[in-house]
């Protein structure tokens, strides 16, 4: 990473850290939700972009993490322990689902994850101990003790910091994993699994591991959700929820590590802007269509194109650069296709 972008990230983090001091509660609640979505989408992107596995059942881990945290928080455990446990439970579940689904590939894999996630959804939906269809209300995080300093995190402005810290750390870990040798193996499997396997790599084991890691962080993101909203319902596991990370990642830009972040912010903004129009689905549909048809590299792709346009308009060799610019767009598209 370049020095300038590290600097930029630090400024950004500082801004987010201080945000609750300047904005109202509704806004910091919204920010919290965005953070959770960012982690949810990043965990999805970890397998989608790095390992080329498009799961359509990612909400299962999100939801199971959320339920685990709802139960554990109510039992009085401290939030960080709860997050870890929820992650571990989601990890185990996703290893199982991964083991079953990874017998197939491509769209079969997607449909298998979708259907297994539906099974998880229906099981939770019909478990009276978990509140059935009504879910579990009244989830309030216990105060945490930081070096003798008691922090009441039951209020969202305070709980914000738990979310902030967890998401930043998780994304950092995901970043490292993506660029580690594990990430390289996963990419190589995505590129050509026969070749990877003939290099002596047990392809399936790695895929399951990657699926498990994605499940872990998906679970953590869900676990952050339930104390924030105070209630958890089976809808958290529904298939539309599984489509969410895919939508976010594609809106943001699938090829960029920052895609989920940009995507989550854009998505939440669109959602808030259109919810009271009474036709939010139509707007969302049109916007998605526009992105898919016109901006396959998402908002980040648009930004990059815009920046490179600015650059070229300042440079002298104009005639040639227009040509190049077309190339950038085209190349971008094909890169998007390739990398999936």
């Amino acid at each position: 990473m370049k020095k300038s972008s590290i600097f930029f990230i630090i400024i950004l983090l500082l801004g987010y850290f201080l945000a609750p001091l300047f904005v109202n509660n509704a806004f910091s609640f919204k920010l919290s939700e965005i953070f959770i979505l960012v982690l949810f989408a990043s965990s999805f992107q970890f397998i989608a972009r790095t390992a080329g596995m498009f799961s359509l059942g990612h909400a299962a881990f999100y939801g199971v993490g959320a339920y685990a945290s709802a139960v554990l928080v109510q039992k009085g455990y401290s939030i960080f322990f709860v997050l870890l446990m929820a992650g571990v439970i989601a990890f185990l579940l996703s290893m199982i689902i991964g083991y079953l689904s990874l017998r197939s590939t491509g769209i079969y894999f997607a449909m298998l994850t979708l259907s297994l996630a539906q099974v998880v959804y229906l099981v939770i939906y019909r478990t009276p101990a978990l509140g059935g269809q009504d879910g579990i209300p009244g989830i309030l995080a216990q105060p945490i003790n930081l070096f003798g300093w008691e922090l009441d995190i039951s209020r969202p402005e305070k709980y914000y910091y738990v979310i902030f810290f967890t998401v930043v750390v998780s994304i950092f870990i995901l970043y490292i994993l993506t660029n580690s040798s594990l990430g390289h193996f996963l990419r190589s499997i995505r590129e050509n699994s026969v070749r990877t396997s003939s290099l002596g790599i047990n392809v399936k084991r790695y895929q399951i591991l990657a699926f498990g890691i994605a499940g872990f962080f998906g679970g953590v993101s869900g676990a952050l959700l339930s104390p924030l909203e105070g209630i958890i319902t089976p809808e958290t596991l529904s298939w539309t929820q599984s489509a969410l990370p895919l939508i976010i990642v594609l809106i943001g830009g699938i090829n960029s590590f920052w895609g989920p972040i940009v995507g989550a912010i854009t998505f939440e903004m669109l959602y808030s802007l259109t919810i009271d129009s009474g036709a939010s689905n139509i707007y969302l549909g049109i916007i998605l269509l526009a992105i898919v048809l016109l901006f396959p590299d998402g908002v980040i792709g648009v930004g990059r194109r815009f920046i490179s346009m600015l650059r070229t308009s300042f440079s002298k060799k104009k005639g040639r650069n227009m040509e190049e610019l077309k190339g950038v767009g085209k190349h971008g598209n094909s890169a998007a296709r390739r990398s999936i």
Partner: protein
């Protein structure tokens, strides 16, 4: 019959064919010789309209075709045997051939099935086998048969001998010769195998780095070992 002038082709940003000009007369066998990556396949794809971007003129039977869709070109009488064969793995040998026949049926009368078996006796026994159950050589022959069934005026053959046993290569040679001589089909043959090519064709284009670097009659080229060496790296 086919005339290519100043053809430039691109894959995205990479410019692979530069000002290429080629001419093929009716019923003539023409060779396109060049080493790996020289641009043989790209030339054929350009003729078929399968390249992402092509500039220049291509006329076939006096009609400009560079704006036509691929299927239109086929219906005008161009057949194509790609280097990777691309037979239908799930369909039987017979079905593979009937599809090709049906596709141009409205335009021209295709060959009857038994005419196909006559020309490609090897396929007759494999008639009911699925494409996936054929070996590489069998697939190659099927692929050629499939393009011939529509009685094209011109066939583009991309490296038909690649990965084929010597004995089948002999067979293949006769099949192609037969096409040119008896069926009066013009053939553009992309090859690296000079021996195989020269006997089948009477004119040769040598392509290197996307440019035509030599053209002349096959007889002449046959004896120009210096050229073989220069453009194809044959040392003998």
């Amino acid at each position: 019959m086919l005339r290519i002038e100043k053809l430039n082709s691109y894959y995205g940003t990479s410019h692979v064919l530069h000002n290429l000009s080629i001419m093929i007369k009716e019923g003539q066998g023409v060779a396109l010789i060049g080493r790996n990556g020289a641009g043989k396949s790209s030339t054929m794809k350009s003729i078929m309209g399968l390249m992402p971007r092509v500039d220049g003129d291509i006329t076939f039977a006096e009609n400009p075709i560079n704006k036509e869709k691929t299927h239109k070109r086929v219906r005008m009488g161009i057949g194509y045997v790609p280097e990777d064969r691309r037979i239908y793995k799930d369909l039987t040998v017979e079905e593979n051939i009937t599809i090709a026949a049906n596709a141009i049926k409205k335009v021209r009368k295709p060959l009857e099935l038994n005419e196909v078996w006559e020309n490609f006796p090897l396929l007759k026994d494999l008639r009911k086998r699925k494409g996936s159950e054929l070996s590489g050589g069998e697939q190659q022959i099927l692929s050629i048969a499939r393009s011939v069934v529509g009685r094209p005026k011109l066939i583009l053959l991309d490296e038909p001998t690649e990965g084929i046993a010597p004995i089948i290569v002999q067979n293949l040679k006769e099949v192609i010769k037969n096409m040119i001589d008896q069926m009066e089909v013009a053939v553009l043959l992309a090859e690296q195998n000079i021996k195989f090519t020269i006997d089948l064709t009477d004119y040769v284009y040598v392509i290197d780095n996307g440019q035509i670097v030599y053209s002349g009659s096959s007889e002449e080229f046959k004896n120009r070992e210096d050229l073989h060496h220069k453009f194809l790296g044959v040392s003998s």
